[in-house]
């Protein structure tokens, strides 16, 4: 005999979030009239301890065998209430959620309409849950190895933390050296530590750690598998230099006849076609840039200078890209940021006037190992007497990026200090608001004020030239006056933006992106390092602009996330997978090529298709195409969805 269906319905007020628009008692009263409903209650906060206890008690006392909670999005609290059911001895899949907050109370103006809509959603959930079946989570083993993608400070920190726990980690970096953007900075705010002095020891630790395998000049091409069991294909780009033979003596770079603007020096100096990006690079061994090297660009008279000068025979022009695979349990993506190109806005004069430069160029200019050995000079060699620093170039600007890049205020204060220290120049900061948000930041701001730096509250609107001198125009919104400030050097503090290849990277790792293009975390507050793909974590500026302390904290945090997985040694796998009724399967094999995971195979003996539940991820594409109705997805069965559609329309 079939078991009697006994449903409990719980309508959450969510404080006033739902109750302001939805008449929760009326929805509960409506639900109590629906078939199989034994009890329907409304309560202030269902997710609170007493709220959860309410459900638990009812399950036990009223012998409920189905539960419906009408509250927020299942993307928020589905796991919470699933656990509540389980703790009262009810299978967690005999429960359904009606989203009456995100999809109802928060988006509906009229309370009556919101209440009607909530009733429809609850009615559909009640009808659906009748068809639910108990499902059981499976466990999969977790590979303890971890992959870190991106060798900036966030990725370095993550790799070091993972390695310190004793786990093997591969660190993949696309450029020839690790170090990232931090390696290009001169000093760091607010302590004015030398950036290289605090970064390079960590870079060296990476190279020396026996748990870390460092792959520079390499990119991830493909990620297969699932949480705990990823299989990653990495392309090691042809470096044309044998890293085992090369001693890093640097002769090849001295003799190479080809000069290319240096990316590391932000175009202020030249590098060779065979190059290490900067003197403290790790590994401190060069790569040949085949796009510019005359051995590769010329068809006749191929240059062989580096080959001829190398005493250890490390140059290998025939080297080819190599694909390697790595199996790991978790992935940390820390691919960093790109910088806004100010030449797209002609008003700033970048690219038009020699002495309009970006903040990163000024970092190189002021750096003792930079192109001028730390001398701050204009293009013609003059020492500037007046310098303007323009904040928010490309940030907080409807025309470019509406978001705040977060670090530029503090970086501008730091640059102002360095400029005054090195040149004694008058420095003018054009700012919209000054955001000194971190520990010791406000104090740093006060210090810079005391150093006599000028602050003009208003965005630097235009840079022009007058009588051979640069002039910054803007409105001083405190004085309510239009200002024209003649200067010798203009520094544009440009926005942090997503990496140019963020779209591709997001697709490879199954990461979603927020409206600004940065990678999207699972929850902005409670799960800042997780992504939509289990086992893939994000850290640092790939998620959004951050300063160094936050990037380091996130790198360490992502390592902790990955290590929790690895240390547990096993991971829960959702039972929401496809299933095939062999009695109905006609053996047509339509479903086989549709599965992106190769999870369906054909049993030649029985002449039916079969699902490998370990490989299946439960998307249901196969089920939707099954002509004989043999294929279904557990928890998203045809019957469940059709019932839900029918009932949601009944109100």
């Amino acid at each position: 005999m079939l078991e009697e269906i006994r449903i409990g319905v719980y309508v959450c007020h969510c404080g006033s979030n739902i109750a302001d628009k939805v008449d929760c008692p009326a929805v509960a009263a409506y639900a109590s009239q629906l078939p199989h409903v034994v009890v329907a209650r409304d309560y202030q906060y269902m997710c609170s301890d007493p709220g959860q206890e309410l459900i638990r008690q009812d399950i036990k006392e009223l012998k409920l065998n189905r539960v419906v909670v009408a509250s927020c999005s299942p993307r928020m609290h589905e796991p919470t209430f699933r656990k509540v059911c389980e703790s009262a001895g009810l299978n967690g899949y005999l429960y359904e959620m009606a989203n009456i907050r995100e999809h109802c109370s928060w988006v509906t103006e009229d309370p009556q309409q919101a209440t009607e809509k909530a009733k429809a959603l609850v009615r559909a959930a009640v009808a659906r849950v009748v068809h639910h079946e108990p499902l059981f989570e499976r466990w999969a083993p977790v590979n303890p190895n971890i992959l870190v993608v991106g060798g900036g400070i966030a990725g370095i920190e993550a790799a070091l933390k993972v390695a310190a726990a004793g786990n093997k980690v591969w660190l993949v970096e696309k450029s020839p050296s690790i170090g990232g953007n931090m390696a290009r900075l001169d000093k760091t705010f607010p302590t004015l530590d030398c950036s290289a002095c605090i970064l390079t020891p960590k870079m060296v630790s990476v190279a020396q750690d026996e748990n870390i395998t460092l792959l520079t000049y390499a990119e991830v091409e493909q990620v297969e598998g699932y949480v705990g069991n990823f299989r990653v294909t990495i392309r090691k780009k042809a470096r044309s230099v044998d890293l085992n033979k090369c001693t890093g003596c640097g002769r090849c770079q001295e003799k190479c006849p080809v000069e290319v603007p240096s990316e590391f020096e932000a175009g202020l100096a030249m590098r060779k076609a065979i190059y290490t990006p900067f003197p403290q690079a790790v590994p401190n061994k060069p790569a040949i840039d085949r796009e510019h090297c005359r051995h590769f660009t010329r068809t006749k008279g191929k240059c062989r200078v580096c080959f001829n000068v190398c005493q250890v025979g490390a140059i290998d022009y025939d080297q080819e890209d190599e694909l390697v695979t790595y199996e790991c349990g978790a992935i940390i993506v820390a691919t960093g940021y790109g910088l806004f190109d100010p030449s797209v806005g002609p008003q700033w004069g970048y690219g038009r006037y020699d002495d309009v430069i970006t903040a990163i160029q000024f970092e190189r200019l002021v750096n003792a190992s930079g192109p001028t050995k730390g001398k701050v000079v204009c293009k013609d060699g003059r020492v500037p007497e007046r310098i303007a620093i323009l904040h928010c170039i490309g940030s907080r600007d409807e025309n470019y990026h509406p978001y705040c890049s977060r670090i530029c205020c503090m970086a501008s204060l730091k640059l102002a200090h360095l400029a005054r220290e090195k040149t004694g120049a008058e420095v003018y900061n054009f700012y919209i608001d000054l955001r000194a948000f971190g520990k010791g930041y406000e104090e740093f701001y006060n210090r810079i004020l005391e150093e006599g730096v000028n602050f003009i509250r208003g965005k630097g609107a235009e840079v022009t030239q007058k009588d051979g001198r640069l002039v910054v125009r803007g409105e001083d919104t405190l004085l309510g006056r239009y200002r024209e400030v003649p200067v010798d050097l203009v520094i544009l503090n440009t926005a942090l933006e997503p990496q140019p290849d963020a779209t591709k990277v997001a697709q490879i790792f199954g990461i979603q992106r927020s409206a600004d293009g940065f990678f999207l975390e699972s929850h902005p507050k409670l799960e800042p390092l997780k992504t939509a793909t289990d086992g893939v974590f994000i850290a640092g500026c790939c998620q959004g602009p951050k300063d160094i302390p936050d990037s380091v904290a996130q790198g360490a945090g992502a390592a902790a996330e990955a290590l929790s997985l690895a240390t547990a040694g096993k991971v829960k796998i959702s039972p929401v997978v496809a299933s095939i009724d062999p009695d109905l399967c006609s053996g047509c094999r339509m479903c086989l090529p549709l599965c992106p995971y190769g999870a369906i195979s054909f049993n030649e003996e029985k002449k039916v298709a079969e699902v490998n539940e370990t490989l299946c991820k439960g998307c249901g594409t196969c089920a939707a195409s099954c002509g004989s109705g043999a294929l279904n997805v557990r928890h998203f069965t045809r019957n469940q969805i059709l019932t839900q559609i029918e009932e949601v329309l009944a109100v």
């Binding site: 993307r75 928060w106 988006v107 979603q512 249901g620 939707a624 969805i641 559609i645 029918e646």
Partner: protein, 150 residues
């Protein structure tokens, strides 16, 4: 110009992008008409033509199906399968005499709350103009009568 008609629209959305986009519309407190009722599937690739037909059979005046943008599918390519199937769904609906404006298939990402709200607003207006859908049986009779009248 509302002539008192409040259309019922069923939205079948994938969990990872469009459902999350609808969540974001809520989190951002964007307002859109209450006429849409959302059904969650894990992937737009799960959507069977019969889901759409069932909705029209059971009183829907419009149906929206939405998944991740091409290339962004959480399951790699489920949305491409949906796109392929969609050609068939549109033909099927046409053969039932269901007007184009009653069915819409879109790609909405988890960050496009505003776009989701806009799609709902547009669709509700469009379906409101088309008037109530009489149901599959009635529409087929209408078609047969028109055929006979020729």
């Amino acid at each position: 110009m509302t002539n008192g008609f409040e259309p019922k629209i069923v939205g079948i959305l994938c969990n990872w992008c469009s459902y999350a986009g609808a969540d974001l519309a809520g989190i951002s407190r964007l307002k859109y008409p209450a006429n849409i009722r959302i059904i969650r599937v894990m992937c737009s690739g799960r959507v069977e033509p019969s889901f759409v037909l069932k909705a029209f059979q059971k009183g829907a005046d419009g149906v929206l199906v939405s998944g991740c943008h091409p290339g962004d599918c959480h399951y790699m390519e489920g949305n491409y399968k949906m796109a392929r199937r969609n050609v068939f769904i549109e033909e099927l609906l046409a053969s039932f005499g269901i007007e184009k404006g009653r069915y819409r298939q879109t790609w909405i990402s988890a960050s496009e709350g505003e776009i989701f709200a806009q799609v709902v607003r547009e669709m509700v207006e469009e379906v409101r103009k088309l008037g109530p859908f009489p149901g599959l049986g009635a529409r087929l009779k209408e078609l047969a009568a028109a055929e006979g009248g020729k």
